[in-house]
Symmetry: C2
Subunit: 237 residues, 2 copies
């Protein structure tokens, strides 16, 4: 079986993306969708809940599901978006170069952020990203070697996430992120085209797999003028 509610979500999400159903319009009612997809109402409701969570629709008791204005802003949409996905959605020239990919053993501070034993084999990866020919993003990654033993510079220059999910079948599940602004240090200034900027937007994130193992720690430094973060959030309370 192939997850009906996911399939229904995909169909409806695409119809909204392609504006087959326009913003402000109502989706067909749950009963109609139940008929259309030859399923049960609960299954339809699961699909609709996903749409709601991802900002496609707003459900209104008694009325129906209204299609929301789409963010034309072609950006991160919070969540876990890899740089490659991000770059694809921006129609700019993007270039990634690997500064360093080395195999080390966890110690002290490294070991602490990855919450692993002293001496655990890890990858230490540094990459620089160019947008329109300017070096504006500097990424440092720490990952457990055990889970991505065959990592190479070529893979790192493409997309780590693709490699993990499609090649290795690992399921990235959730992440914690922190965004702050910090002074650029000497190394930052050496790597990036800082112009007259003295500060960087720093995104630190810890990425976890389905089984809750902390797998990757990333520090991503962005030149302030090239940084933008877009978010859709529902009030949970």
């Amino acid at each position: 079986m192939e997850k009906k509610f996911q399939a229904i979500y995909d169909v409806l999400a695409k119809e909204i993306q392609t504006e087959k159903i326009r913003a402000g319009q109502l989706l067909p009612s749950e009963n109609e969708l139940t008929e259309r997809f030859a399923t049960s109402r609960e299954t339809v409701r699961k699909a609709l809940q996903l749409l709601s969570q991802n900002g496609y629709i707003q459900k209104l008791q008694g009325k129906g599901s209204i299609v929301l204005e789409q963010d034309k802003l072609p950006l991160p949409v919070s969540g876990l978006t890899s740089f490659k996905e991000l770059a694809r959605s921006m129609s700019q020239k993007v270039e990634t170069s690997v500064i360093e990919l080395s195999s080390k053993e966890a110690h002290g501070c490294n070991q602490q952020v990855l919450q692993c034993e002293e001496g655990t084999p890890i990858w230490e990866l540094q990459r620089m990203r160019k947008l329109d020919g300017e070096a504006v993003i500097y990424d440092k990654d720490l990952l457990l070697k055990k889970l991505a033993p065959g990592l190479t510079k070529e893979i790192a220059a493409d997309s780590i996430y693709d490699y993990l999910e499609q090649e290795l079948g690992l399921s990235i599940s959730y992440a914690r992120k922190e965004v702050v602004v910090e002074e650029a240090d000497a190394k930052d200034k050496e790597i990036l085209d800082m112009g007259s900027y003295q500060q960087l937007v720093v995104v630190r994130s810890a990425v976890y797999l389905e089984d809750t193992t902390l797998f990757q720690y990333t520090e991503s430094k962005h030149r302030p003028d090239k940084f933008r973060f877009v978010d859709f959030a529902r009030r949970t309370k």
Copy 2:
């Protein structure tokens, strides 16, 4: 009736917050919880799904629900958190002062961001916030007067969200946000204690009610060293 799944969520969330159940431990199984709360498994599952969404637990097929490490970082946790809530969780001295609260009619640019008719009555609000005696946040709000007719400087100095939700019974439902870094202008420098900083982190957000009406537009400028954004995100794809 009083929404059982919400009640179950509240109980379990509190047990996790107070570390009655600690990180790394498993929750009781769905069947056990079903018995404990004298309900059905589906209802328990709805509660667990909420916990999962909000970063309290990770569900593992075949194993159970693991309690996740809690963010000790006492900060925004994405979502829609009002400044008052935020301030409460930080044990710093916080002070809000209203710079301006005036009643206007929408025109040109104002009208555009609020997506309303020319001439619609709106509130224009400007506030400055001090942390530990330093002026570090500058907020500008536009809101539809129709929905909050009795707004006063006193209310604005406290919490607009409390007023809207508790006094007026309005349901804030979702928001779109954008975070960028911009140069501070003359007005910013006049209002805030900028020190040697030249830039500000600007959070622009559009806040919507349950019926999808755009109700408030906010521009919140933060001195870079006092800005921090923390996020928990699940990979949806």
